[in-house]
């Protein structure tokens, strides 16, 4: 279905998120504050969540069971899948890779082969895209953090995760939040700093306090955050649509003007016409480059004094 920008709505937009931090900081409870969550308890840590915050939970011994469960009709009305933790998922995937194709994915000493790591990485990406794109659910990856040192010896918090997944998991994520205690206050940060990496967008940025919940309080911090992000997307779209439309118009006119240029005079005419357009976004810089390429193609050089093109002198 083809839609015009103004016809697009984001009421049902789903998000991908990473939450990471030290053990015991409350990452799982925070993840459970997303809309209609299902927890995949790879880490066997649901017992640490207070009973009144627990939700539907998938416990499995094998990755295949998880795959089956998340596609179950019983979960059709659920909106968020929480993978707790991403690091433990990798362990499940390694076991799955070896069992599913030992000849290719296992070394003689029993360890995962290079191809096995490739299979784990691919399945990790497949799972993420299946949850987000096919099942149309939010996906939250919970990770423990590990402390590394930067080149100056300063501590840096990173995802505790083996292999390429620790890099690739960031790619599709809209948000990456580092959860920590500052004094007695639990906060989640969506803006990167020297100490930790983080990712924010749609107006969700900076360090946000996470409320301390009493037994009767609704655990809906992330549900509200997702609502705020959706509202921001809508307002950004409304503000940007005219600019994007103008950008598209300018680029089209410039392409058309330059397409027919074969002589230096025509190039100068086109250049002046393009300069007179009402530019938007980076259209001016892009058109400048298109003009340079056309000049090169027809053997024209810019006379810097007159700022017009002339025929390149024959060598």
């Amino acid at each position: 279905m083809i839609k015009k920008p103004e016809e697009l709505t984001f009421d049902n937009k789903k998000f991908s998120m990473i939450l990471y931090g030290a053990p015991g900081v409350g990452k799982t409870t925070l993840a459970l504050s997303a809309p209609k969550p299902v927890l995949i308890d790879f880490d066997k840590g649901v017992s640490r969540v207070k009973a009144y915050h627990r939700t539907l939970t998938i416990e499995a011994d094998k990755y295949e069971e998880v795959l089956e469960d998340i596609q179950s009709p019983d979960l059709a009305d659920r909106e968020t899948i929480i993978i707790d933790t991403g690091g433990s998922l990798i362990t499940y995937l390694q076991d799955w890779a070896i069992r599913s194709n030992p000849a290719q994915n296992q070394q003689k000493n029993g360890a995962l082969s290079l191809k096995g790591y490739g299979a784990v990485k691919q399945e990790f990406q497949h799972l993420t895209s299946m949850i987000r794109d096919r099942l149309n659910k939010n996906v939250i990856y919970v990770f423990h953090s590990e402390e590394q040192k930067d080149k100056d010896g300063n501590p840096q918090q990173r995802l505790l995760c083996e292999g390429a997944a620790r890099n690739l998991v960031w790619q599709p994520c809209d948000f990456g939040g580092y959860v920590q205690f500052i004094g007695n206050d639990r906060v989640v940060s969506f803006t990167p700093s020297q100490e930790f990496f983080a990712k924010g967008c749609y107006g969700i940025e900076g360090t946000i306090p996470v409320p301390t919940l009493k037994p009767t309080d609704k655990n809906d911090f992330l549900a509200r955050l997702f609502d705020a992000a959706r509202a921001q997307i809508q307002s950004e779209v409304e503000a940007l649509n005219p600019v994007k439309e103008q950008y598209g118009t300018v680029m089209q006119i410039a392409s058309d003007l330059l397409a027919g240029v074969t002589t230096v005079d025509e190039l100068n005419e086109a250049k002046d016409a393009i300069a007179g357009l009402e530019h938007a976004l980076t259209s001016k810089a892009e058109c400048g480059q298109m003009i340079k390429e056309k000049a090169k193609a027809i053997g024209a050089v810019l006379d810097k004094a007159t700022k017009t093109y002339k025929q390149e002198a024959k060598k």
Binding site: Q148, C201, T282
Partner: protein
Amino acid sequence: MRYLLTQSLISSWQWAMDLGTDEKFDEFRTVLRREPVEQNEAMQKGIEFENNVYEACRGLVRDPHPEWENGIQKVAAIVKGSQFQVSGSVALGIGATDFLLYGIADAIRAGTIYDVKFSTKSFGSAELAGKYLESPQHPAYLQIWPEAQRFVYVVSDGEDVYTEEYTRRNTRRFWDVAREFWASIQALGLEDEYKKYWEAKEQ
């Protein structure tokens, strides 16, 4: 009189200051004196990778790369439709000194600047998240192209792609970066050397 500033000069200075080794400082002095640097294997691979991406984007007839085709196609899918190797500059004053910040963007499209990077380390062994946080490149390029809304590092190891995006809201002001650089150059007694080699050609 104006003097050129480039992100690679500032990046070289940053490395020298961060690591504080004689080797890095010597490398920085080489850059400061604009001495030609021999391309190492990593640089050559980076250029080869980028050229393949641009050819793929332009739809040129090319043989699939024997090692990196997956990565090339994934990066090309992100930057396709851009204008490539776009140069730009902007004037900048720090105290009594005038500078011209100059840069070449790998790709620009619809308000986004892309920088294509090749990682010789596979993603399985590299730690990428936050790698570019302190880089002067995105502050510099967002300064050169004020109409751009975001800067995206597009990194590939030849197989996979990792992107790291910076908007104006989470980017340090380039002016602060440049001011630190200039104060440091003066403190190190390198002002004359810098001015000797980095005078901007006025048009």
